[in-house]
């Protein structure tokens, strides 16, 4: 969610506003939808939000932190400006994704799972996008890209480093 990145440090009051929306409507099992909403709003789940969520949903802070840390989607720091999620699952492997991963790692100068120190781009693993006969596949800033070859790597790198 690139447009959210500009709000690097959300105010507690802003976080509380999002939390209140969920606490008020009495949704059952509201924690995951709430965390998704916070991440959509601010780009990440600020650790400052944990006690506020615990209070609002009548949970312990440990329970909330446990859920935030369990799910790979939830991040506790602001994401890079561009995120490339490359599929590592079997179907993409059968179509040469290992070589594409190596090429992306080399061209972006970061390891799989890392972000560039300047916060420009991150390369993350993802396990299957369900486009399994047209791989290797990736989500480039949430946009699906299929059939990635070396030329496509060039286009992606140019796009995310611009």
């Amino acid at each position: 969610m690139p447009e959210a990145v500009t709000k690097a440090m959300p105010e507690l009051a802003e976080i509380q506003t999002v939390i209140d929306r969920f606490a008020r409507n009495g949704m059952r099992g509201a924690l995951l939808p709430l965390l998704h909403a916070l991440q959509e709003e601010f780009g990440f789940v600020d650790p400052q939000a944990v006690p506020l969520i615990a209070e609002a949903l009548n949970l312990s802070r440990a329970e909330v932190h446990g859920v935030v840390s369990f799910y790979p989607d939830f991040r506790e720091q602001a994401p890079a400006r561009h995120v490339v999620k490359l599929c590592r699952a079997e179907s993409c492997q059968s179509r040469g994704s290992a070589a594409i991963e190596a090429e992306l790692v080399r061209r972006l100068g970061i390891g799989m799972g890392d972000a560039r120190p300047d916060g420009q781009v991150a390369l993350e693993p993802i396990y299957c996008l369900g486009l399994c006969a047209i791989g290797p596949n990736a989500l480039v800033d949430e946009r699906p890209v299929a059939g990635i070859d070396r030329a496509a790597v060039e286009r992606i790198v140019a796009e995310v480093t611009a």
Binding site: G29, D73, E90, C128, L131, A133, V145
Partner: protein, 517 residues
């Protein structure tokens, strides 16, 4: 104004369908966005409405609009349903997918939608359960448990409230049928869930979709909102996962909906007795629930007529990986693996020989072409040391290193383990280490502990390669029978099948052809 049809399926969009749709809109056409037809080799695909029906062209790009509209484009496919890939199929569940505008209630009703729900409302709840039982429908998520019996258990349970949960956490690599159905015919799933609600006495349902499927999430949310009046008093809610593969396991999924870490529960109690929020819960895969409207509208016999042995009806098989005609093929059980891979799939995309296929996702066995005579059937695959799973077939050519794939299976299990049981959490990591040592030909020698003077009975000689392989088999045995759920329990399938059918990749002698029979 000419009407043209362009898919809005995530796969089609990834291949450029949005640009194609814009090009036809600029050319003055009325563009209808449909679901995916299911054959990726002819995507991006456009269908032009003519007096002879819809004529398809593909693959085509945005610059081809003029040539397509005057009928001169070289990639003319003709009538889509007559293409060899589709001609053999029996589309019960996917009849509308790729044909209609997924969110148009008028299209849905025009193409036989809601007939199943209307039929169900004319029957008593018990008669609906009986119809599902008579159809022989088995859980399409992988376990193959009879759906009717599950529904009966929930129907018979006494409770102040019950739930219908749809497992749309389709995490297996090589599978995409759930995604295509949710994007291409969402009301079909909604109708199936409403029928289930009527049958077991549940008032509310949840559809749990993985976050890797943003298109399906959007389409389902929209469809739920638009059809709320049609399925009332039954209500539905879409919940989105957060990147944990293990949440495809039904009890972990229930915990995730409840707002907890997605950890597996010990069974019993079964979810049918104590499921979501401790209440009796029907939890079914997308394809199981989406098969129900057909069963109710066309009759249980019409569904059960097709199939093989105890596997009745059709299976939306997904042919994926290194394959020429990859895509969705809904066909009656009993078709052989070889027909699916070579005839319908057309062999590898790379043009090299097929070396292995993995059936059933990351937890499914690898089969060599010597086993292509296997009929697609739950029992036949179980007898051959594998599983159908969610019916994804991933094809590999002869460049694949099977020891590396076995290692990946263990690595994936280690990454995705929920951590609740030891065989899965620790066994998977030990498995990666073991396979690394086997492949490197560097068996484990004596460690610091074994060489201590007090350890008189400890062995100080290094293990042999055969002992390391025996240890890997032993570890797989522990994981298979000691894990709480299918993640740890089925990870041994790809590992052991790779070891059995492709020992040469682990530094052993080549498997004899008869050993593969």
């Amino acid at each position: 104004m000419t009407r043209v049809f362009v898919s809005r399926d995530m796969a089609s969009v990834a291949l450029g369908a949005d640009d194609l749709a814009q090009a036809f809109a600029r050319a003055g056409c009325e563009v209808v966005r449909t679901g995916g037809r299911g054959l990726f080799a002819i995507e991006p695909l456009v269908e032009v409405e003519t007096s002879e029906g819809r004529i398809a062209y593909g693959p085509v790009g945005p610059r081809d609009a003029a040539a397509v509209l005057d009928g001169t484009h070289a990639n003319r496919v003709g009538v889509t349903a007559e293409h060899p890939f589709f001609a053999r199929q029996q589309r019960f569940t996917f009849a509308r997918c790729g044909v209609i505008d997924p969110l148009s209630l008028a299209d849905y009703a025009e193409h036989g939608g809601w007939k199943g729900l209307e039929a169900a409302f004319r029957l008593s709840p018990q008669e609906v359960v009986d119809a599902v039982k008579a159809s022989g429908l088995r859980g399409r998520g992988g376990a193959g448990f009879p759906t009717g019996i599950k529904w009966q258990t929930v129907r018979d349970a006494e409770a102040d409230e019950k739930f219908i949960v749809c497992n749309a956490d389709e995490g297996d690599s090589g599978t995409f049928a759930d995604r295509m159905l949710m994007e291409g015919d969402p009301y079909c799933l909604i109708e199936g869930m409403a029928i289930a609600g009527h049958a077991v006495g549940a008032g509310h349902g949840y559809i749990y979709i993985r976050s890797e499927y943003p298109f399906a999430v959007r389409t389902m949310r929209d469809a739920v909102a638009r059809s709320a009046g049609r399925i009332a008093p039954f209500t539905l809610e879409v919940r989105v996962g957060a990147g944990a593969y293990v949440c495809g396991e039904e009890t972990a999924l229930l915990d995730s909906i409840e707002g907890k870490r997605g950890q597996v529960r010990a069974k019993p109690p079964l979810p049918a007795i104590e499921g979501l929020f401790g209440k009796p819960t029907v939890i079914n895969n997308v394809l199981s629930l989406a098969a129900v409207p057909f069963i109710l509208s066309e009759g249980a016999e019409a569904y059960a007529e097709v199939g093989f042995g105890r596997s009745r009806g059709t299976m939306p098989v997904q042919i994926a990986g290194n394959v020429r005609n990859g895509g969705l093929c809904e066909i009656g059980f009993g078709v052989t693996l070889g027909e699916l891979v070579n005839e319908i799939g057309g062999g590898t995309a790379s043009g090299r020989p097929v070396r292995a296929v993995q059936v059933g996702g990351p937890l499914g066995a690898y089969f060599p072409p010597a086993m292509f005579h296997l009929p697609f059937d739950y029992e036949a695959f179980a007898a051959a040391g594998g599983l159908i799973g969610h019916a994804g077939i991933t094809v590999f050519d002869d460049t694949v290193d099977m020891a590396r794939m076995a290692r990946f299976a263990m690595e994936f299990c280690a990454v995705e383990s929920c951590g609740k049981c030891t065989p899965c959490r620790i066994g998977s990591t030990r498995g990666v280490e073991l396979i690394d040592r086997i492949v490197a030909g560097a068996p484990r020698g004596a460690g610091m502990l074994e060489i201590m003077p007090q350890m008189r009975n400890a062995r100080t000689a290094a293990r042999t390669q055969d002992e390391e392989i025996a240890l890997l088999r032993d570890l797989c045995d522990t994981m298979k029978f000691g894990s709480l759920c299918a993640l740890g329990g089925f990870t041994p399938y790809p590992v052991l099948s790779a070891l059995d059918h492709f020992p040469e990749d682990f530094g052993g002698a080549s498997a004899l052809p008869e050993a593969a029979e």
